[in-house]
């Protein structure tokens, strides 16, 4: 089986596992219409200006630096909310500053862009996705408003969790085998597939537990092929990229949130690992943009927004510089946004915008309108 073949089969088989049974009563052809699509990519985990669009940081982001002249670059996109990962990204997708549990144990306190979009446009469940490396984002797809909520939420996929569980199992059961042995990991993945996806991240919608043996085998082979193949991943963000691309190819959704997160390795105190993660995220973001450009269902009709979830502490007078992101200093709060795609006039804007403006902008691009939100649509993007 070649890779493309797997991709098609795997995508469909994934759908069986992550979508609710009721969905399958409806036709689920990929969304190949000509309507505007929105992809929001976050440099999750947090990154500072000094390692990205500051003059000394450009070398870490060659892909975005090359894309910047093609897009509209907002020099100041402020995160005025809680400087934790879940609250920051939840603010981006709800348009309101979120102040819920920092670790993802509560859903966003107000409805998300996903819900408004789906309810107001009648879009189906495969039309809105959140794909996140951060494994605490399982409830990022919907708030708990009684008129909206999960029935209108996004499919949330946590690709890293899949491998985490597998690796953990290998260690627990056969410590002598070693985590990096791909064969061991893959054998374990097969075991996990037999047990069902719920515990390994593909969980927001209750999927049916019955999985056809041939589909299970196909998916297992697909994972084996992916891990052994030329794109063999070494990090969670690479897996997130792979899943995002497959979702785009198989379902063609109009709304996707992609949360990269590897750069939060900065907490480990290794500046070089932090820089490597930034460069990897930059590369993957560039590859996603290439996918947009090469996929006829996205090319010339996609608004592609890239922004850091938050910054990180500054080097001076902060608790511990790049390691953390809680000081609230300008290095934590003031980041940037790069808008690419359909109809966007290239340039740079000095007009300060905020994280909460992203949801309003996405909604407007998709023909929806969010109610009672703090953010306002970024008019320069909606031309």
């Amino acid at each position: 089986m070649n890779k493309r073949c797997f991709v098609q089969l795997a995508g469909l088989s994934i759908a069986h596992r992550i979508l609710p049974n009721w969905l399958w009563a409806r036709p689920t052809a990929p969304n190949h219409d000509d309507k505007r699509k929105v992809i929001i990519v976050t440099f999750g985990g947090g990154v500072r200006y000094s390692e990205t669009f500051a003059p000394e940081g450009l070398r870490n982001i060659p892909a975005l630096a090359a894309l910047q002249p093609k897009g509209l670059f907002f020099k100041t996109c402020a995160n005025s909310g809680v400087l934790s990962h879940f609250n920051s990204t939840a603010s981006i997708v709800t348009g309101n500053w979120q102040r819920v549990d920092d670790f993802g144990f509560q859903p966003p306190a107000s409805p998300t862009l996903f819900e408004y979009y789906r309810k107001q446009t009648g879009a189906g469940p495969t039309d809105a996705w959140a794909i996140a490396t951060n494994k605490s984002f399982s409830s990022m797809g919907a708030g708990s408003h009684r008129d909206l909520g999960l029935p209108f939420g996004a499919n949330v996929v946590l690709p890293k969790q899949l491998l985490l569980e597998a690796v953990g199992e290998v260690i627990r059961k056969k410590p002598e085998m070693g985590v990096a042995s791909r064969e061991n990991v893959l054998r374990q993945l097969e075991g996990i597939l037999n047990e069902g996806y719920e515990g390994v991240g593909w969980t927001i919608f209750k999927a049916g537990r019955q999985l056809d043996q041939s589909v299970r085998n196909t998916l297992t082979r697909g994972l084996i092929e992916y891990i052994h193949g030329p794109e063999s991943p070494t990090s969670g963000d690479e897996l997130t990229f792979f899943i995002t691309r497959e979702v785009m190819r198989e379902f063609g959704p109009r709304l996707i949130l992609v949360n990269f997160w590897d750069m939060d390795v900065a907490h480990w105190g290794s500046y070089s690992l932090y820089l490597q993660a930034i460069t990897r995220t930059d590369r993957l973001t560039g590859m996603l943009w290439e996918e947009v450009q090469s996929n006829p269902h996205y090319k010339d009709k996609t608004t592609f927004l890239v922004l850091p979830e938050l910054g990180r502490d500054g080097d001076i007078n902060a608790s511990n510089g790049f390691l953390n992101h809680r000081s609230g200093d300008p290095s934590c709060r003031n980041v940037w946004l790069l808008a690419l795609g359909a109809g966007i006039q290239p340039g740079q804007s000095d007009r300060p915008i905020q994280h909460v403006d992203v949801a309003a902008t996405g909604a407007a691009a998709l023909g929806a309108r969010m109610r009672e939100i703090a953010g306002t649509p970024i008019r320069e993007i909606l031309v």
Partner: protein, 425 residues
């Protein structure tokens, strides 16, 4: 019931006088939490709290009220009450409450303003009692760059000094720098000399070592000397990783808050490291290793964080900080923060010399800036930033330090002597 602290008689008198009760809730609760385990505080911390609350206690109440009025106003907006902030109880719940408040940035600003008014008064006392201090920060020989690429972030603040390396100096570089003699002479290191002659507290001269080379040079154990080695803590680190991993797998721990309570119990054992006999140090190391950053996994993160914490808390007079080369991180190991990489993966461990260089450029800078944040060190401290085997070093020092005037290369022994003289040993 909140734990009853057993602070000094000075603090106890201030508590009884009602000093804490007259302060805004968030401030007094936080401070009370800091002193509740008085017996686990370093001497410098105890002195700081006595001075801080002594100052507040002897100040006119009107002035204190005026100082804290903005904080009371913010607390009111935040909805701080004794229900959410029970007197003298400060846990992650209270941290969480503050973090999630929309007024948190304002709260931080107001607290910073309060300290910006208090600190000059406290700093003045410190500055008056200033005395010489010495900090030596060493990088490993394996770094793939020369001294011209070292300490780029702050070398303009000091002066590069050429070192006259003799033929046997490769082998005895550390020994000559720290003892003034070859290793086999087994002379005392600068921290040992200081601890034996001048230490003003049980934790006044520190060696923080990624490996064991520097620690091994210190052959005596005078009171006042602290030796921390990431390598020597391996048994404790391994046990911590195993136990945390087990906790996460076997117990219903929903998140960091619940985990934190369990981690408090994981103290170092006497069989694991000699610091177990010193409760203050044992708690210090536990907290450094379980702070949630990479101190368990990465030697240089441990060295940096332990140093930064020692500066904040213990204010050592002499510090020798020795970084190493960290290992490469194995694929997907970022998923396994509490798993011992050496034993769970067959991928051979490889040193990452280039990555270590990039890391140390930042960590050296952070170490220096941390020392310089405190009045104890400003204008009193000689800093040697040294690369093992390198023939140039960076010196930052008060203008009267003789080395700054050196015109020709200086031998390692002479560097030792100048540091020893600076500390009047």
């Amino acid at each position: 019931m909140p734990p009853s602290p057993h602070p000094s008689s000075t603090i106890q008198a201030l508590i009884e006088k009602g000093v804490f009760d007259r302060l805004p809730l968030t401030f007094s609760t936080y401070c009370f939490d800091q002193i509740k385990e008085w017996e686990l505080l370093f001497e410098a911390e105890r002195v700081y709290f006595e001075r801080l609350f002594g100052l507040l206690g002897r100040s006119e109440q009107e002035l204190v009220d005026e100082l804290f009025a903005p904080l009371r106003a913010v607390e009111q907006k935040m909805g701080v009450t004794e229900k959410v902030f029970p007197k003298r109880v400060f846990t992650l719940d209270q941290v969480d409450f503050l973090n999630r408040s929309q007024y948190y940035p304002e709260w931080r600003r107001v607290v910073a303003d309060i300290f910006s008014r208090l600190n000059p008064l406290l700093d003045e006392e410190i500055a008056r009692a200033g005395r010489p201090r010495l900090v030596i920060v060493m990088c490993p020989a394996e770094l793939p760059v020369g001294p011209d690429r070292m300490w780029m972030r702050f070398k303009k603040q000091g002066r590069m000094i050429r070192i006259d390396l003799g033929t046997s100096d490769d082998e005895d570089f550390l020994a000559k720098l720290l003892t003034g003699a070859k290793r086999r002479a087994q002379q005392k290191t600068l921290p040992e000399l200081y601890a034996a002659q001048k230490a003003t507290s049980p934790h006044d001269a520190w060696i923080v070592d990624a490996g064991g080379a520097v620690s091994a040079l210190a052959v005596t154990s005078p009171s006042g000397l602290v030796k921390l080695s990431y390598e020597a803590l391996q048994r404790y680190r391994t046990r911590l990783m195993t136990q945390v991993d087990q906790l996460l797998k076997t117990q219903d721990i929903r998140g960091p808050r619940q985990l934190g309570a369990k981690l408090k119990e994981l103290r170092v054992l006497p069989t694991e490291n000699e610091i177990a006999s010193d409760p203050v140090l044992a708690e210090f190391v536990r907290s450094v290793l379980l702070s949630g950053n990479g101190t368990l996994l990465i030697n240089n993160t441990f060295v940096e964080w332990a140093t930064v914490q020692s500066v904040r808390r213990a204010k050592p007079s002499v510090a020798v900080v020795s970084f190493g080369v960290r290992n490469k991180i194995k694929p997907f190991s970022s998923l396994l923060i509490y798993t011992e990489q050496e034993t769970t993966t067959p991928v051979p461990t490889q040193a990452d010399a280039l990555g270590s260089y990039v890391d140390l450029e930042m960590l050296n800078y952070y170490v220096w800036t941390e020392f310089e944040k405190y009045p104890e060190y400003r204008r009193n401290t000689v800093y040697y930033f040294v690369g093992e085997g390198m023939d140039e070093m960076l010196v930052l020092a008060p203008p009267d330090f003789p080395l700054l005037k050196a015109e020709s290369p200086v031998s390692l022994t002479h560097l030792f002597e100048m540091a020893r003289d600076w500390m009047q040993l």
